[in-house]
């Protein structure tokens, strides 16, 4: 670690991992409710578990991005963070807001939560992923503004690199597009249309800039490859991402009342969205093959390569699978969607955050890399979580194909619930893979505490 203030990212990384655990536990609860329908009912209805699962995911990824930025920006800018105090204060605000929100979901009926938190003043709640009460949404905006101010000031007072510029663009974009979460017209067709300005333009737009910048940073560090080469790759990748991804939003507009021309625009442009993900994989392997040093942190290198491959599989391959309008007509809103959502989020954003944590945490704790035994544990967790996620995806894809067949294609279509009964086996298998995922996560956390006899520098 070159600058003292980079250490603030430790708070963010720790909380991110904590929320990751909560996310997975509630995922397992839902996975069981899929097969034992009344499990924990009415204490934790499915929709409540789902809010905790998805919102914890989003919040911990945001924490991960912020932590990554607090680590990366001072080093790229070659200067201390503008205000470490602000970074720490915002961390606590964010953490408390997140915790209160989760407690609200779990212990207050959602309608009362809405009433108490001013949803009647400005109705924003009750839309997928944007379930947060108004004060939480406003809190996110305040934290985002303070955060952006802090890192932008840091970049402005120091060296400006392609990596920090791209990261900043992505983070500003993230904040700007979140503002669409406050727009909720009565007209459901328009509501749905602009809802995607948050969801799609995040994961297939500005977040890809964040992803590419973090990946590029870690690759420079672990391979020692020339910055000029990496900068070119970075710009080429994000160009392809936005050129395909912006109009690619149209792949969500086929069946929600919007104009029919989106079937063409959406299909053609989103069909190109896998290209930047493919390029990222090629880029990562290329850099590692051309490395000029043997970095002792082999675990971080593994996560970086894994991010490329899994993002390409989850977003690129599984995205392409159902993105063309004639295919999407059948798979829309099925388990195929869930399969893709899981592998894409994991492969791209979970893995890139872990890549950064894997690289930065040992340095924050005062060593270039963890002991080789701790790294072996970490690599075990990499394989367990990643392989488990591959299986979750495969089982859900199988469930999805059967679901589509039984319910939507067959000459004698079954009702939804009857179809679900037919495919229960695959939900059991998914739950099994989910347990393996949890084991991987526990081993991942254990790797932080395992120092294999070396002195503990942790404080």
């Amino acid at each position: 670690m070159q600058f003292q203030s980079q250490a603030v990212s430790r708070f963010y990384f720790t909380a991110a991992i904590g929320l990751f655990v909560a996310q997975i536990l509630f995922g397992l609860v839902m996975g069981l409710q899929y097969v034992i329908g009344d499990f924990l009912f009415p204490a934790i209805p499915f929709n409540v578990a789902r809010m905790v699962h998805t919102n914890a995911l989003i919040v911990w990824l945001l924490m991960g991005f912020m932590g990554a930025a607090y680590y990366l920006v001072p080093e790229e800018s070659e200067t201390e963070l503008y205000s470490p105090k602000l970074a720490i204060a915002l961390f606590w605000i964010f953490l408390v807001a997140a915790a209160l929100t989760v407690l609200g979901y779990l212990f207050v009926p959602y309608a009362s939560l809405a009433e108490w938190t001013g949803n009647d003043l400005l109705a924003t709640m009750g839309r997928e992923f944007l379930e947060q009460p108004l004060p939480t949404k406003l809190g996110i905006v305040i934290v985002a503004i303070g955060f952006l101010f802090n890192i932008t000031m840091t970049v402005l007072k120091g060296r400006k690199t392609a990596i920090s510029t791209v990261l900043l663009l992505g983070l500003w974009g993230l904040a700007v597009f979140f503002l669409f979460s406050f727009y909720n017209p009565d007209n459901i067709a328009r509501d749905k249309y602009y809802w995607w300005f948050v969801v799609h333009l995040w994961v297939e737009g500005v977040w890809e800039l964040i992803l590419a910048a973090i990946l590029a940073f870690v690759l420079i560090k672990v391979t020692g490859v020339d910055r000029e080469v990496i900068d070119k790759w970075l710009y080429v990748i994000i160009t392809m991402a936005l050129v395909s991804g912006i109009i690619g939003t149209g792949h969500h507009f086929y069946w929600i009342g919007s104009a029919e021309y989106w079937q063409w625009w959406g299909s053609v442009f989103s069909a190109m969205e896998p290209i930047p993900f493919f390029a990222m994989t090629v880029f990562a392997f290329n850099m590692v093959n051309r490395r000029r040093r043997e970095h002792p942190n082999r675990a971080a290198t593994l996560w970086a390569l894994g991010t490329g491959v899994m993002a390409f599989l989850g977003a690129g391959v599984w995205g392409f699978l159902h993105t063309l309008a004639p295919v999407n007509y059948y798979t829309h809103g099925s388990q195929v969607t869930a399969a893709h959502g899981h592998m894409a989020f994991y492969g791209a954003y979970v893995m890139v955050v872990i890549t950064m944590i894997s690289y930065a945490m040992p340095l924050i704790r005062g060593r270039a890399a963890n002991s080789s035994k701790a790294q072996v544990l970490e690599m075990w967790s990499f394989w367990l979580m990643t392989v488990a996620m591959v299986f979750i995806t495969l089982f859900l894809t199988a469930a999805g194909i059967l679901q589509v067949w039984l319910q939507r294609v067959s000459a004698t279509p079954l009702p939804f619930m009857a179809t679900q009964d037919q495919i229960g086996l695959f939900y059991w298998l998914r739950e099994g893979a989910g347990v393996v995922f949890l084991v991987g996560l526990v081993i991942y956390i254990a790797s932080f505490f395992y120092n294999g006899g070396e002195e503990k520098t942790a404080a």
Binding site: Y34, E128, I188, A189, L242, R408, L414
Partner: protein, 146 residues
Amino acid sequence: MSRSFTPSMARNIFYGGTVFFALLFLALTYQNEQVLPTRDNRANLTEKVAAGKKIWETRNCIGCHTLLGEGAYFAPELGNVYKRRGGDAGGTEFIKSWIQAQPGGTPGRRQMPQFNLSEKELDEIAAFLKYVSEINTSNWPPNIEG
């Protein structure tokens, strides 16, 4: 990548490309707004329907169901439930009595919570679902089962 292709060229292509496609997206969005009135059933978007949408949101129905294919995949599609359950001949009544009868309580079966909606709120949510079922979705879902 070749030497004559410099990072600053790559950067300029990025900014140019992004601005161009963002503007194109805005133009298509503008065009979409022109088309929507012919498809989104807005003539029937009454106060009651708007109130129904709010019930839909504040009970987090989307946390289990899909609506026009978006949401959760735990429970049936509701964009066309009005039509599936009888349409003008009984759709409203079905929706209201279904919601009142929850949770079903069959052991092991997926359960829907009881929301204790008033008669007025039941009418509103039913009106909302009727409204949604009349949006032009380019013939989605493929059949009535959703």
